[in-house]
Structures are given as structure tokens and as C-alpha cells.
């Protein structure tokens, strides 16, 4: 176990702690029983998020199992290192969860702004892309590892952006169809 691994694990643990704390404190996640709060998900959205979470978790478990048995081949054939592989698996499972939520109308809270979310995702993805481009080299001895992780996140952000736009277009068409029916 080298020093880099310990630092990496410490950063990961700190990030998880911050994430869990932010979820616990987030007004979006706390359903108030008495007062009227518009910054919350309704019951159907919470139910769909549960299903999405299950799908994302199953995806992560399946990918991790595949990686457990075929890990060395990922480096040989896909040129992916250990860190990049784990980041890819986690990103894919998170994407499954988020995309399921988007397409089952469980991503935005009751009064979330669609365009603000699009802008936020674009900024974050652009930030990851720029930080990825700042690296001197993308591979180490022909293996894509630590430096490729920002690109994985940037691509994930791009996929999210496209999914949001696609869902918006689908919603517009459905609304127009319903208006015509009425």
C-alpha cells in the first residue's frame, strides 16, 4: 500500500462524507410534513428515484463483478488503468440512475429551473474538460489512468446534457399532442 493510495482513499472518504452531509442538509431531500415547501420531490418522483437507485446499484454491482474477473484484460485491450476503470464503472452506474430519473420525470424538483440545470451541467462538464486538457500527457506507459478521469466526467456531463435536451423535446411533443387531443 503506497502513500498515493492512502491519500486517494482519504480524499474519496472526505468527498463521500461531504456528499452525504449535503444530502442530509439539502432542502430538496427533506420532505416537510407540516409547512408548504416547494423545493421538494413529490411522492411519484421519490418512488421513481428508488427504482432508479436500484438500477444504478445493480449496474455498479454487475460492472464491478465483471471488472473483478476481467480486470487485467481492461488494461491490455482497453488500455484502461485501475483508477480509470473504477471511475468509469461508478460514472456509468451514476448515469444509469440519473438518466432513469430524467426520463421518468423525477430529476427536477417541483420548481427547479430546466435552463439553470442545463447551464450548471454545461459549466461543470466544461470545467472537467478544461482540467483534463491541462494534463501534460493522457497516458502512462500506454495506459490511460488518472489523467483520463476528468474526460470521463466531462463525457458523462455531455451525455447528461443530451439526455436533458432529448427529454425536453419529448415533453414538448407530448404536450403538443395532448393539446391537439383536447
Amino acid at each position: 500500500m503506497n502513500a498515493n493510495f492512502v491519500i486517494m482513499m482519504a480524499i474519496l472518504a472526505a468527498a463521500c462524507a461531504v456528499f452525504l452531509f449535503s444530502i442530509r442538509k439539502s432542502p430538496k431531500m427533506s420532505a416537510s410534513e407540516t409547512g408548504i415547501s416547494t423545493r421538494k420531490y413529490d411522492e411519484r418522483q421519490i418512488m421513481n428515484q428508488g427504482t432508479g437507485f436500484k438500477l444504478g446499484f445493480i449496474t455498479a454491482v454487475i460492472c464491478m463483478t465483471v471488472y473483478l474477473f476481467t480486470g487485467p484484460y481492461w488494461a491490455t485491450y482497453l488500455h484502461l488503468g485501475q483508477y480509470a476503470s473504477i471511475a468509469l464503472i461508478l460514472t456509468v452506474s451514476l448515469l444509469v440512475f440519473v438518466i432513469y430519473c430524467i426520463f421518468s420525470d423525477a430529476y427536477f424538483t417541483v420548481d427547479d429551473s430546466y435552463y439553470k440545470s442545463l447551464l450548471l451541467i454545461a459549466v461543470i462538464s466544461g470545467n472537467f474538460l478544461l482540467s483534463g486538457l491541462r494534463a501534460d500527457s493522457f497516458d502512462t506507459n500506454g495506459i490511460w489512468d488518472f489523467n483520463i478521469i476528468p474526460f470521463i466526467f466531462a463525457i458523462a456531463g455531455g451525455i447528461l446534457f443530451i439526455a436533458l435536451i432529448a427529454k425536453h423535446i419529448c415533453d414538448r411533443r407530448a404536450d403538443a399532442r395532448e393539446a391537439a387531443e383536447e
Binding site: 408548504i36 413529490d42 411522492e43 411519484r44 418522483q45 420525470d105 417541483v110
Partner: protein, 74 residues
């Protein structure tokens, strides 16, 4: 008609009473959603029969539309 298709058709029965009650008050889906504090898509899903609301939401909808549970959801 195959059994599975019949079952799906039964489950996805549209709630036309809700739609009619909403239209009678000249409310849009968004207006009703704002009144009961859910998303517009949830009201849409209830009207299309894609989602069965909880009793709490049913009561909130009935109060917003000045109807009884029997009139809308039975």
C-alpha cells in the same frame, strides 16, 4: 386480446373524472399541480392512469377540486 395486454389495459385506465373536474374549474394541469404541491408530470401521470396516487395526494386533489373521493377516484 392476450391476457398480458388486457391486464395492462386495466392498469392504465385513464382517470377521465379527474380531467373533467379539472376542466370544469378551468384549471390547467400546472394549476392543479401547484395547488397540491406536486409536479405537473405527476398530475399528467394520474390522468393517464400511469400512476396510482397515495390517499394523501388523492385527498389533496379532491380538496383542490371541491369534490369527494368517490366522485374522482372511485
Amino acid at each position: 386480446m392476450p391476457a398480458k395486454q388486457r391486464k395492462n389495459r386495466r392498469c392504465n385506465m385513464k382517470n377521465l373524472k379527474l380531467k373533467a373536474a379539472r376542466a370544469a374549474l378551468d384549471m390547467s394541469q400546472q394549476d392543479l399541480a401547484n395547488a397540491v404541491e406536486v409536479s405537473r408530470q405527476t398530475i399528467n401521470a394520474i390522468e393517464k392512469g400511469d400512476y396510482n396516487p397515495t390517499l394523501k395526494l388523492c385527498v389533496a386533489i379532491c380538496k383542490a377540486l371541491n369534490k369527494t373521493l368517490d366522485e374522482i377516484f372511485w
